[in-house]
């Protein structure tokens, strides 16, 4: 335990005044912890990392960590990250987004970043709700669930983030819940090392905005629910469609090795420069 605390201190910004903005029990901090452990275990230098985030509770993560950090606009983190990566492909560019960020306002950018297969590691913190603006529905709010803008229950079908990203051509797509610390660390580390566009969806509880309006009495209830329903994707595939509805498939959905945009760019450049000579 002491070791873990020490590690976190190595990566936090000492000049930044704490406490942080997250509610007690919010899963966002757990994701940050996992990201730090992954970066540390891979030995990536802090100077080589650019952490880019959108707007929302999830967007507040970068300010606390001692990397190069950019807090952008709502939904557009991937566009900034694309510019950074192409400007300097040597950098490890990590993007943190909420579900609203990634799939609602930023949906267009997500599908194109995946299609380009540009070398970005994207973490989508899916709490099924808009946290920061006070619990409105997002495009991942499950059908029938309640929010401040769906007082009669969500009437639209929700997005499956992993499926969308996979369909658009990402190299690596995985999912974990914040109750699976080891799996989460493994998925984030694998993503960080994977070339091309890679995305890890992290199911995280927001009791303040989602839990209260739906059937969860406390934060602990939400964590218990995550623990009970997360199943490995291999097992999930064998379940009946009825059973699948209750469960969360976790693990790796796609892992391939297509050439990323920045490699393609550099290859084409070599070719034209060669021809010119």
């Amino acid at each position: 335990m002491a070791q873990v605390t020490q590690l976190i201190h190595d990566y936090l910004r000492h000049s930044k005044k704490f406490p942080h903005v997250f509610c007690p029990g919010c899963g966002h901090g757990i994701v940050l912890g996992s990201l730090i452990r992954s970066v540390h275990s891979l030995g990536i230098p802090k100077d080589d990392i650019v952490l880019v985030a959108g707007i929302g509770c999830s967007g507040r993560i970068p300010v606390y960590v001692d990397f190069n950090t950019v807090h952008t606009t709502h939904g557009r983190a991937l566009t900034f990250a694309t510019g950074i990566k192409l400007a300097n492909p040597r950098l490890k560019v990590i993007v943190v987004m909420g579900d609203g960020d990634a799939l609602s306002i930023g949906g267009n950018h997500l599908i194109h970043a995946a299609r380009r297969n540009i070398g970005l590691t994207t973490l989508v913190l899916n709490n099924h709700i808009y946290g920061m603006t006070g619990g409105q529905s997002s495009s991942t709010t499950p059908f029938g669930c309640y929010s401040t803008t769906t007082p009669f229950g969500q009437m639209e079908k929700e997005f499956d983030i992993a499926e969308v990203t996979k369909a658009c051509g990402a190299n690596f797509v995985a999912r974990a819940t914040v109750m699976q610390a080891n799996l989460m660390d493994r998925m984030i580390s694998t993503a960080l090392e994977h070339p091309g566009f890679n995305l890890v969806e992290l199911i995280t509880p927001c009791h303040t905005q989602f839990g209260r309006k739906n059937k969860y009495k406390s934060t602990v209830d939400m964590y218990k629910w995550l623990k009970k329903n997360a199943v490995p994707v291999e097992k999930y595939q064998d379940l009946s469609p009825e059973k699948q509805k209750e469960k969360i498939a976790t693990g790796i959905f796609v892992q391939k090795d297509c050439m990323g945009l920045e490699q393609r760019y550099s290859e084409i450049r070599q070719k034209i420069i060669g021809e010119a000579k």
């Binding site: 650019v50 807090h71 900034f80 694309t82 510019g83 192409l86 400007a87 040597r90 267009n108």
Partner: protein, 384 residues
């Protein structure tokens, strides 16, 4: 003789306004372009797509929309590139949130907006000057911004270089406004000798990373800006921030920050305001114009002078911050001024604001997608 003509070939070129923008950008050191195509700015993207990839580290990318285009440009600039994008009316509207972001985070970049007749999709291939106030006030919140314009193809090149220089010097986005006529006119331009061209690049920090403060105040109000990944780790946010870049809402820190944003532009007003004074010395009537209208106006001045009327032209190349001192001088000197423009009076309202009863301000406005001719301007002057 043979060498002389060879040299001539290298420095002169027949180019579109939009192509001249690309020449200027490359001379200024631009090596990153991201954008989304829209008439009448498209040739800028197309030319960049040809020119950048063969360059040592040139990057061109066509993004999924204009919001993404400007987002990528901001990211690239943070990573140390001289980056730009170009667009037209509808795309310019989409970019507004990111223009505000670049202002508050003090990210240098150049944005060329080739104005077309609007509102909305309007008349894509017709000229207009309807985005002048949008360039100044389009994004939300209070902030200064530098807006430049160009009236002929040579100026497209020169003002693009100036736009990059200002953006790097003052750590701010610079908007270059063109009109469809200027962008699509093809004429001979002279390429300046790169050795002799004044090119400014952002200041890099010289102190050790522990001492670096990304948004520190100093005499210039502009702090050094290291590229992401160079060992200076700091936080960039669109939230109002303190000198370290951390979000703040403490009134004292907010006020200090906002005042610095304005001061860094205000105190260099004389560096930033660029105008051409054409036959203004003894002018009794002054035409104040910009873009392609200034070209018509210049001819109108010649025509009027031939008839013995003392008319001059004040051609605005900097639109914002509004070149108040020079405009004021002409307002004091002349018995009347005329502001012809292809909108309902977006610059004449600035002139009237400065005028404050000094002289008579006449306007000539056209919003039918047609250019304003020298004859029309002359007629208006004669009517007084």
């Amino acid at each position: 003789m043979a060498t002389k003509s060879k040299k001539k070939k290298q420095t002169e070129k027949f180019a579109l306004g939009n192509e001249a923008v690309v020449e200027g950008a490359l001379l200024a050191g631009c090596n990153f372009y991201a954008g989304y195509p829209i008439t009448p700015s498209t040739e800028i993207a197309e030319e960049m797509a040809r020119r950048l990839p063969p360059m040592e580290d040139g990057v061109f990318i066509q993004m999924e929309d204009e919001i993404a285009g400007l987002g990528a440009v901001i990211g690239a600039s943070l990573a140390g590139r001289k980056a730009m994008t170009a667009t037209s009316g509808p795309g310019f509207s989409l970019m507004q949130e990111h223009i505000g972001y670049a202002c508050i985070t003090e990210v240098p970049l150049v944005l060329v907006n080739v104005m077309r007749a609007g509102p909305s999709t309007g008349m894509p291939t017709s000229p207009a000057q309807g985005d002048v106030q949008q360039a100044r006030w389009g994004t939300h919140g209070d902030h200064p911004i530098i807006v430049l314009s160009a009236g002929d193809v040579q100026e497209c090149l020169e003002m693009t270089v100036t736009a990059f220089n200002f953006s790097e010097k003052y750590r701010t986005p610079v908007i270059l406004l063109l009109d469809e006529v200027t962008a699509h006119t093809r004429e001979k331009i002279t390429l300046p000798d790169p050795e002799e061209l004044y090119v400014y690049s952002r200041m890099l920090p010289s102190m050790p990373p522990e001492w670096y403060m990304p948004f520190e105040d100093n005499m210039r109000g502009v702090s050094a800006m290291p590229p992401l990944g160079s060992g200076y780790r700091y936080h960039v946010t669109g939230l109002t921030h303190d000198d370290h870049g951390y979000p703040t809402s403490k009134p004292k820190e907010v006020e200090h920050f906002m005042n610095r944003l304005f001061r860094k532009i205000d105190q260099f007003f004389y560096d930033i305001q660029i105008v051409d004074e054409i036959r203004c010395d003894d002018a009794e009537v002054c035409i104040i114009a910009y873009g392609c209208v200034a070209r018509s106006a210049e001819l109108a001045v010649d025509m009027a002078r031939e008839q013995g009327e003392k008319v001059g032209l004040l051609k605005l190349k900097t639109l914002f911050p509004f070149p108040r001192p020079i405009v004021e001088k002409m307002l004091r000197q002349c018995s009347s001024v005329l502001v012809p423009e292809m909108n309902m009076g977006q610059i004449s309202r600035e002139v009237k604001r400065v005028n404050n009863g000094l002289t008579k301000v006449n306007t000539l406005n056209r919003i039918d997608g047609q250019i304003i001719t020298p004859g029309e301007i002359l007629k208006k002057i004669q009517k007084g």
